[in-house]
């Protein structure tokens, strides 16, 4: 089950690039977690590009965007360069899917993350979450409204 609003967000430390780790608990701003199935699939590309296009609107509220999938750092880095994404893509690669499982958004049969969004407040409580059908890009409107509701 996807973690619901009111739950404390499980902490994690994941690589965003070879040798460069991101730890949730060291971020002191609101956070938007964007779980997605895989780099390079067309829907995911659009989904992340929309968040990139909306970057300014999220930045106005000091919200940090973090993409998460089970792809490894080298794959992420090629994808990120190609799509010119400016927010980190975290590799939930080893142990595979551990963070996705902690948030209740891992598809055991497929071995990939669900298409799911979480908005965390400054203290990293989940204030909003959304699970989308895997083939449908949810857009950034729900997450943006949830971030705006924090301030």
């Amino acid at each position: 089950m996807i973690l619901s609003p009111g739950t404390a967000a499980p902490d994690f430390t994941l690589p965003e690039a070879p040798g460069k780790m991101v730890t949730l608990s060291t971020i002191s701003s609101p956070v938007v977690l964007i779980f997605y199935p895989a780099d390079w699939s067309p829907v995911c590309g659009d989904e992340l590009s929309i968040f990139q296009a909306a970057g300014e609107l999220f930045a106005q509220h000091g919200a940090q965007l973090l993409g998460i999938s089970v792809d490894g750092v080298w794959c992420h880095s090629a994808f990120q360069t190609d799509r010119r994404l400016k927010f980190p893509l975290l590799a939930d690669f080893n142990p595979k899917g551990e963070t996705s499982k902690a948030y209740g958004v891992y598809r055991e049969n497929d071995g990939i993350s669900e298409r799911a969004l979480f908005v965390l407040d400054r203290t990293h409580n989940i204030t909003w979450s959304h699970l989308s059908p895997i083939e449908i890009n949810p857009g950034a409107d729900g997450a943006l409204r949830a971030v705006e509701a924090l301030s």
Binding site: V43, I136, G139
Partner: protein, 179 residues
């Protein structure tokens, strides 16, 4: 599956670029990017839908430039808006999609000229900032409406998540007409 619960956050108004009767039973809003190849593929499909649905369809175009991925998209969008201030928006819109592979600054000015706009006025309008604020306004309305890629279509205010290939899209529009 093609129906979603995502609504257009800003309704179509007289500020929009629209073709077709205001009281048409179908209003299709496209959020598009001039440098996006999928929008380029959608362009002739939209034209075919406009032709085949005639006065039953009003088509509206709004800007959703994915500027980080498409370096010319924002400038092309601003140029179309600037040309639009002289009443030549659709001429420019069509030229941009017909010439997607060449959207550099010099090419954009030549399309503005071909669209029938006064190029000096276009340049002045862009410096003045109105085209930019129109593009930003569209982009924000796209995000708030749940646009989920380029192109994103809204039919009568609801996001259309089905295929925009001609047949399924036309079939969906026909079903909306009949309902």
């Amino acid at each position: 599956m093609s129906q979603s619960e995502t609504h257009l956050s800003s309704p179509v108004s007289s500020d929009d670029h629209a073709v077709g009767p205001e009281n048409a039973p179908l209003t299709v809003v496209e959020y598009g990017d001039y440098q996006c190849p999928y929008c380029g593929q959608a362009f002739p499909i939209v034209q075919a839908l406009q032709r085949d649905f005639g006065d039953s369809l009003r088509f509206v175009f709004r800007n959703l430039p994915l500027a980080d991925m498409h370096p010319h998209a924002e400038q092309a969008a601003e140029m179309a808006e600037a040309v639009g201030l002289q009443g030549r928006f659709w001429e420019m819109h069509d030229l941009l999609y017909e010439n997607q592979r060449e959207l550099g600054a010099r090419a954009l000015l030549s399309y503005a000229d071909r669209a029938g706009a006064n190029v000096e006025e276009v340049v002045a309008a862009i410096k003045g900032g109105e085209p930019r604020s129109r593009v930003q306004h569209d982009l924000e309305s796209a995000i708030r409406s749940g646009a989920n890629g380029t192109p994103t279509f809204f039919v009568n205010g609801e996001r259309y998540d089905g295929s925009w290939a001609y047949e399924p899209f036309a079939e969906y529009l026909t079903s909306m007409l009949e309902s």
